[in-house]
Amino acid sequence: MALNLGCTAKPGNARDNKTGSWRVFKPEFIREKCTQCGMCTIVCPEGCISPDEDEFPVPDYDYCKGCGLCAEECPSEAIEMKKEEK
């Protein structure tokens, strides 16, 4: 990618920056414990959690940077942060 003069960019550019590569810990969602309350979707700073066809939350690991907020906030302890080997 050539540089844009003045370091400019069109909106929506954050999508090109796959923050998933920053991840050290990976959230694992445990369906059995999940009540579908939606808290994780709200607190995720990447906005990368969306419901699947059964309304269970699923993170997009291309953008999940492993911050752990979802796991911290989940009232049902349905998310576990696991060390990710790369």
Partner: protein, 385 residues
């Protein structure tokens, strides 16, 4: 038309003629009559501009940055501590490649508190990516504003510019100034055509995040733009000369340098004193000449090298000091002449407004002939005991 004007007022007039669309400035100390005069000019509807009064210099330049990114020609003026408060924004303006033009009325930086002239304020922003032009007199100070806008807005350059002139020595002094009229100014300086701009219908963001994979290349491109601005400065200066008779094609200017043994290098109003001193020294049989640096950024190293190639020694006068090292111009001249065997001697002087007389120039030439340099000239030894 020739008019007798105070330096600040002359610059305000020239800026009016450049038709800035947005002016933002902080009115309180340290400030000059420039923005006071501009406020009056805008209030009298003699200039169709938005005049934004702000709460600090940081905000003044921030407002200019935003307005420039939105596609307006903008203007501000400041000096000393005011410029220091703009430090962060200065780097942003240059990095976002906005052709902001700002007058710097050169004054010393505190502490100790000083309101008088030296070049420490603008020199301290040497590395920010702004162009820096230094005026010898009020005529040059006004003319350089038209040239600065034209160069800055050129799509081969797109960099901001300081037009520097000495506080009090020029800003508060009445001199005859040949003012362009509006028609002449318009024929030289066309309306600003932004390279790209903030537009709600086609949004972009400026100055975004760059990871280590990209940052260095952005700084490199900034550096290249500043270097290649030299040709544009020369051609815009030449065009000004062809149209109005005052040629600014040289980024440096020589005075009686051709057969000189000792070359003095200086910037700003000091050059006037040096020229008078040189005339007297020449009458007394000393071959002395001056190389005046008009453009410190871009720095015309090659031009300087060839202008000084025939001299036996170079005495560089700096109204600034990099504490722990030397004056800024001295270091760069020495770098430009590296490998030439010509001794370059540095003289830091006139800090905080100490007057420089012809006899001081003669004394410096004397020092240089004896090989005594890299000193702070004119120290009051009795205060240092």
């Amino acid at each position: 038309m020739m008019e007798i004007m105070e330096g600040s007022h002359a610059v305000a007039r020239a800026v009016t003629m450049c038709r800035p669309q947005v002016i933002a400035a902080y009115p309180i100390t340290p400030q000059t009559h420039i923005v006071e005069a501009l406020a009056e000019i805008v209030a009298n509807c003699e200039l169709d501009a938005d005049y934004i009064t702000v709460e600090s210099e940081f905000s003044a330049l921030s407002a200019c940055l935003g307005a420039s990114a939105a596609g307006s020609r903008v203007y501000s003026a400041t000096t000393s501590q005011g410029l220091a408060l703009m430090f962060e924004v200065c780097f942003n303006v240059a990095g976002m490649r906005q052709p902001v033009v700002m007058s710097i009325v050169n004054r010393a930086l505190g502490a100790p508190l000083s309101i008088w002239n030296d070049h420490q304020d603008s020199i301290s922003l040497r590395d920010s990516g702004w162009m820096q032009f230094y005026a010898e007199d009020n005529q040059e100070a006004t003319d350089l504003h038209y040239i600065a806008y034209k160069v800055a807005e050129d799509h081969r350059v797109l960099l901001p510019s300081f037009v520097c002139f000495d506080g009090f020595i020029l800003s508060h002094t009445y001199e005859p100034v040949d003012m362009l009229n509006q028609e002449q100014a318009d024929s030289y300086l066309p309306p600003f055509k932004p390279y790209h701009r903030l537009d709600a219908d086609d949004p972009i963001s400026f100055g975004l995040f760059a990871s280590p994979d990209y940052y260095q290349e952005f700084r490199y491109e900034n550096d290249q733009a500043l270097r290649s601005a030299q040709d544009v400065v020369a051609s815009c200066g030449r065009e000004f000369g062809e149209m109005f008779g005052r040629d600014y094609s040289g980024l440096v200017e020589a005075y009686r340098l051709d057969d000189a043994d000792t070359a003095i290098v200086a910037m700003g109003s000091l050059c006037g004193t040096v020229k008078d001193a040189i005339d007297e020294l020449r009458d007394a049989g000393k071959k002395v000449g001056l190389l005046k640096i008009r453009s410190f950024r871009p720095f015309p190293a090659e031009e300087i090298k060839s202008a000084l190639s025939g001299v036996s020694r170079v005495a560089v006068l700096d109204k600034n000091i990099s504490l722990g090292s030397k004056g800024a111009a001295c270091l760069e001249i020495r770098d430009a002449l590296y490998g030439s065997q010509i001794p370059v001697l540095g003289y830091v002087l006139a800090l905080g407004g100490r007057d420089v007389r012809k006899k001081d120039i003669a004394a410096i030439v004397d020092n240089a002939e004896k090989g005594r340099g890299d000193i702070v000239y004119g120290l009051r030894e009795e205060l240092l005991k």
